[in-house]
């Protein structure tokens, strides 16, 4: 079971590293969304600090949405997904490895670059640890929930818009508590509550979502 997990993880990471260009594009998109925002408003420091948490999370949501489309698509196109579906090991294990590889090449990048970008918006350095924690707990949830939507819309042509309609409402708790923790950290309020909720969401997503994704893949391809 662990052998399959590591095999799929290793394979997907190798594929991602061979396509470094795509990784850089997603990172650039995230940076540009956050960097362009101040140009459209006044550059008053208090305004930017106030909207920074929301801005960072919207940037993350949009970037995740763009990259989610491809999560299962390539494997589906050249028939690897078929081999996953008939494998002796549980599909949920394979799917968990795939989403982990996806998170390492998308979510983890936001966890690293997000704090740098909020500094640019004038957020105090003291709030950075909470920002990193919120992103580290929130982005796995985004990846897991997004993978469910991606699996459900796999066999549909031009599923991008439908995918966003499907998963954005499910991202609301992460947005509220993720941005809430950041806001509280900026003004110096207690942040533990919001982070605990994010942690609980993260645990729930990591333990339950793989089974849902596996079921969604089976349903989506049985046509």
């Amino acid at each position: 079971m662990t052998s399959v997990f590591s095999a799929v993880l290793q394979r997907d990471l190798t594929v991602a590293l061979r396509q470094r260009g795509t990784l850089v594009h997603h990172l650039m998109f995230f940076v540009l969304v956050v960097a362009l925002f101040p140009l459209g408003t006044n550059t008053d420091g208090t305004v930017l600090v106030a909207v920074a948490p929301a801005l960072i999370w919207m940037g993350v949501l949009l970037s995740v949405l763009l990259s989610l489309n491809d999560l299962f698509k390539a494997d589906h196109e050249y028939g690897m997904l078929t081999q996953y579906l008939i494998a002796d090991e549980p599909l949920a294990i394979i799917v968990a490895a795939k989403v982990l590889a996806y998170w390492l090449t998308s979510g983890a990048i936001f966890v690293i670059t997000g704090p740098v970008l909020v500094l640019m918006l004038g957020v105090p350095v003291a709030a950075l640890p909470v920002m990193i924690a919120a992103l580290a707990l929130g982005t796995p949830v985004l990846a897991m929930i997004g993978a469910i939507g991606s699996a459900l819309t796999l066999s549909l042509p031009r599923a991008g818009l439908l995918l966003s309609l499907l998963i954005f409402p499910l991202y609301v708790p992460v947005l509220i508590f993720g941005a809430g923790a950041m806001r509280a950290a900026i003004v110096g309020l207690p942040v533990a509550g919001a982070l605990y909720v994010l942690g609980a969401l993260c645990l729930l997503a990591v333990t339950l979502a793989p089974w849902v994704i596996a079921a969604a893949l089976r349903v989506g391809l049985d046509t």
């Binding site: 052998s3 095999a7 390539a74 050249y78 028939g79 078929t82 081999q83 008939i86």
Partner: protein, 203 residues
């Protein structure tokens, strides 16, 4: 002869539309069964249904390996080769083989050796997008040599293969059947194997 698969009045199709008349057949160890039929007769649909990828419209089928009702040890090679264009044949094969319990121990040396025997030594470490259609097909078929599955479902294994590769494939199928594997395959090219049974799909 131990029975590997029992098909009972199976009907497959898409969206409630049956593709062929109810099918009843048995597949035993050592059998090589050819599924025959025109384009669109439902050969691929039948194989995908038996692999558990599609739900049959009606009827049942039962896998049994060593007396237990399970489809563990099933190998399935369909039209798609399951090769990532950015990975090399060795990396692709190693990933696919590790999905199955009985082949997770196959190492890179064995894979390279098998690829060399199939005339793919030069491209074994090149990205698969640089390979020709026939070379990709041969890479996918290398699993027949590397994985010791007890049941093989092969959908058009000979597509895009040259004469020499077709003969090699036929010889390997015969060897696998002699070793006790059960093979269910479809083909439009003549393959020089002794079919124990032919399933004709008709409406």
């Amino acid at each position: 002869m131990t029975s590997r698969l029992e098909i009972d009045a199976l009907v497959c199709g898409h969206a409630e539309r049956a593709l062929f008349a109810p099918l009843t057949a048995t597949l035993a160890a050592g059998d090589i069964v050819r599924v025959a039929g025109d384009n669109g007769a439902g050969k691929t649909t039948l194989l995908r249904t038996l692999a558990g990828l599609l739900t049959p419209l009606s009827g049942t089928f039962r896998w049994s390996t060593d007396g237990r009702a399970s489809r563990a040890g099933l190998g399935f090679i369909d039209h798609d080769n399951a090769l990532s264009p950015v990975l090399t044949p060795v990396e692709n094969l190693s990933a696919v083989l590790r999905l199955h319990r009985n082949t997770s121990g196959v190492d890179e040396f064995q894979i390279v050796h098998t690829l060399a025997a199939l005339g793919l030594k030069r491209v074994a470490h090149k990205p698969c997008r640089a390979l020709s259609a026939g070379q990709k097909r041969r890479t996918a078929l290398a699993r027949l040599w590397l994985a010791s599955c007890r049941v093989w479902l092969l959908d058009e294994p000979a597509a895009a293969l040259d004469q020499a590769s077709r003969e090699r494939l036929a010889r390997q199928m015969q060897i696998m059947a002699d070793d006790g594997a059960a093979i269910l395959y479809s083909t439009h090219q003549a393959l020089n194997v002794t079919d124990t049974q032919v399933i004709e799909l008709s409406r």
